[in-house]
């Protein structure tokens, strides 16, 4: 296992419109990205679990080759700005990703 923070160069969240939150993980190299993608280590059920939301709330979970990135888009717990809002821009909702460990074999050492 390897911490996601050692494999990624960008881990971010942001609103995609007032009703959706989108998270982007951009990997440090194409080699790392290809391995994560091949093993499908990041996927909708995993994102649903770490965010504590039902799986149907994960609207998209997609690998984007041109940017060596994984993206997941989920339903916001509240529409942006509704009473009880905690993060208008949705820019600081990445903490659950910082604890994530991904399956990783030693022979595929990251080239960070």
């Amino acid at each position: 296992m390897k911490p996601l923070v050692e494999l990624a160069q960008v881990i971010r969240t942001k609103n995609a419109g007032p009703y959706e939150l989108t998270l982007d993980i951009i990997f440090k190299s194409r080699r790392i990205y290809e391995q994560v993608k091949r093993e499908n280590s990041l996927n909708a059920p995993l994102i649903a679990r770490i965010y504590g939301v039902p799986e149907p709330d994960i609207l998209k979970a997609i690998y984007f080759d041109p940017a060596c990135a994984f993206k997941a888009t989920m339903k916001r717990p509240l529409p942006c700005g509704d009473p009880g809002e905690r993060d208008i821009y949705g820019a600081q909702q990445h903490a659950p990703l910082l604890d994530l460990l991904l399956p990783w074999e030693d022979e595929h050492e990251s080239d960070s």
Binding site: V10, K14, N15, A16, G17, P18, Y19, E20, T22, D24, I26, I50, Y51, G52, L59, K60, I62, F64, P66, A67, C68, A69, K71, T73, K75, R76, P77, P79, C80, G81, D82, P83, G84, E85, R86, D87, I88, Y89, Q92, Q93, A95, P96, D99
Partner: protein, 452 residues
């Protein structure tokens, strides 16, 4: 076809740019300066209240540079989503700043103004005709939501902007506008493929955010050629890289392969990003897929009451340890105190230093040695919101709990006055797709000759 050069000075009008970057950008001999002024990112208040999100002084500062430069080079300036939210008051606010700059800088030009307001009667009628659909997870639209919205705007596509260019406009001030449209209008009018032009616009609308190091307040250059486009930051210390430009395609979008907009989508499944110089990236293969019928996104916000907030810190370990019990007690005391009063209210607490940012989704909800507490009341009237918040604040200050040592007060207030009257509180009420019979149906173009 001769190459077209597009200059994007800044990510949002009023975010600023270094004068030296603008000069460097102008040295590319741009055919157009375009800037996006809007976003729903700052939340529902600005659309609901008809207020700009960016300060007037900052918008004027940027416009002085841009209008001067454009008149000197005789190139058009396109401004999309005027005033941030792009409703009638935002448009008028930005128009007045432009007129003031023209007066002070002795500038003359032909200006097109394009409002983007959706007539309430039209939206109600089309709602009953089944020509209004929720966008993503938004709920079904109701007639009440339409009636209660203060302003209703739709994102225009390139078509009304092209009409303004056809009419000889040298400055185009558009209400709510699809962000890439102000960049794509001139290229599409000159025959460039909409897929490339809109994809370029999608990158340029955030200016140098797509560069490394990224910046929302520095200039970016886009060059459209036969079959591809190029992007390059104007700021000396920045580069566009394959990774930075491709990564930007992900930004704020739900699906990186298909970016929907007015009347169709940009399809990036075949897009190829290539580093052509150290600072410049080429993109080809972006396609446009027109959709039928032609739909536009409609946005609206409605008032839900009045908001008052108060900020305080807490440093006592016993208080922090029993905070949830205290907060619950404060809620109960508040409910009891106002149980005979008319009107509804909501009382909310945000505990920073524990779970203020993520709430129930916080993976490590442990408080530190101190916490920050934001108390918030939303009520039917300003007076009631003040009463609720004031009562909750003083109750929390003096709340008794087992083992309390600090009987003089539980909270540290940084300010006097301690309570901030935020005024009207809004929520988004409309985020829906409306079918138009014609892309220009609700975006009337008017022209005026601006003289100093």
């Amino acid at each position: 076809m001769r190459p077209l050069v597009l200059l994007s000075p800044t990510a949002i009008l009023g975010y600023g740019f270094p004068a030296v970057s603008l000069d460097r950008g102008l040295s590319f001999n741009p055919d157009v300066i375009a800037v996006d002024a809007g976003s729903t990112d700052p939340g529902p208040y600005y659309l609901g209240a008809g207020q700009s999100f960016v300060p007037r002084r900052s918008v004027k500062r940027d416009l002085v540079f841009l209008l001067r430069a454009a008149r000197r080079l005789h190139i058009p300036v396109l401004i999309g989503s005027a005033g941030g939210s792009g409703a009638r008051p935002h448009l008028e606010w930005c128009r007045e700043i432009i007129l003031e700059v023209a007066r002070e800088e002795s500038l003359s030009f032909r200006m097109a103004v394009i409002p983007a307001d959706v007539p309430r009667s039209l939206l109600l009628e089309e709602l009953s005709n089944g020509r209004v659909e929720p966008l993503g997870p938004a709920p079904q639209l109701t007639a009440d939501a339409v009636s209660e919205s203060t302003y209703l705007v739709a994102q225009m596509g390139v078509e009304p902007l092209m009409e303004a260019l056809d009419g000889g406009a040298e400055v185009i001030l558009a209400g709510r506008c699809y962000d890439p449209a102000v960049f794509a209008a001139l290229p599409v009018r000159q025959g460039y493929p909409a897929g490339l032009a809109l994809h370029l616009g999608k990158i340029l609308e955030c200016a140098a955010i797509a560069a490394v190091p990224g910046s929302g307040s520095d200039c970016m250059i886009g060059i459209l050629e036969q079959g591809r486009f190029l992007v390059e930051p104007a700021g000396e210390g920045r580069r566009a890289t394959e990774a930075s430009v491709a990564a930007h395609t992900l930004y704020e979008k739900g699906d990186p392969y298909l970016l929907p907009g007015p009347g169709g989508s940009i399809d990036l499944q075949g897009a190829v990003f290539t580093q052509v110089t150290d600072r410049r990236v080429a993109v080809e293969g972006s396609r446009y897929c027109p959709a039928s019928p032609y739909t536009v996104k409609v946005e609206g916000a409605r008032q839900i009451g009045y908001r008052v907030v108060s900020l305080a810190g807490a440093r006592d370990p016993a208080f922090i340890e029993q905070l949830d019990t205290v907060l619950q007690g404060v809620e109960e005391r508040t409910r009891d105190n106002f149980s005979n009063e008319e009107g509804g209210y909501r009382l909310l607490f945000h505990v920073y230093g524990r779970d203020g940012v993520m709430g129930a989704q916080e993976p490590h909800p442990a408080a530190g040695h101190e916490v920050g507490i934001v108390m918030e009341a939303i009520a039917d009237s300003q007076e009631f919101a003040e009463a609720v918040l004031g009562f909750a604040r003083s109750t929390m200050l003096h709340f008794g709990f087992p083992g309390r040592l600090t009987t003089a007060g539980n909270l540290a207030f940084p300010y006097s006055p301690s309570d901030f009257k935020v005024g009207k509180a809004y929520v988004f009420s409309v985020h829906h797709l409306l079918t138009l019979s014609d892309p220009q149906q609700i975006f009337p173009v008017s022209f005026e000759e601006v003289r100093p």
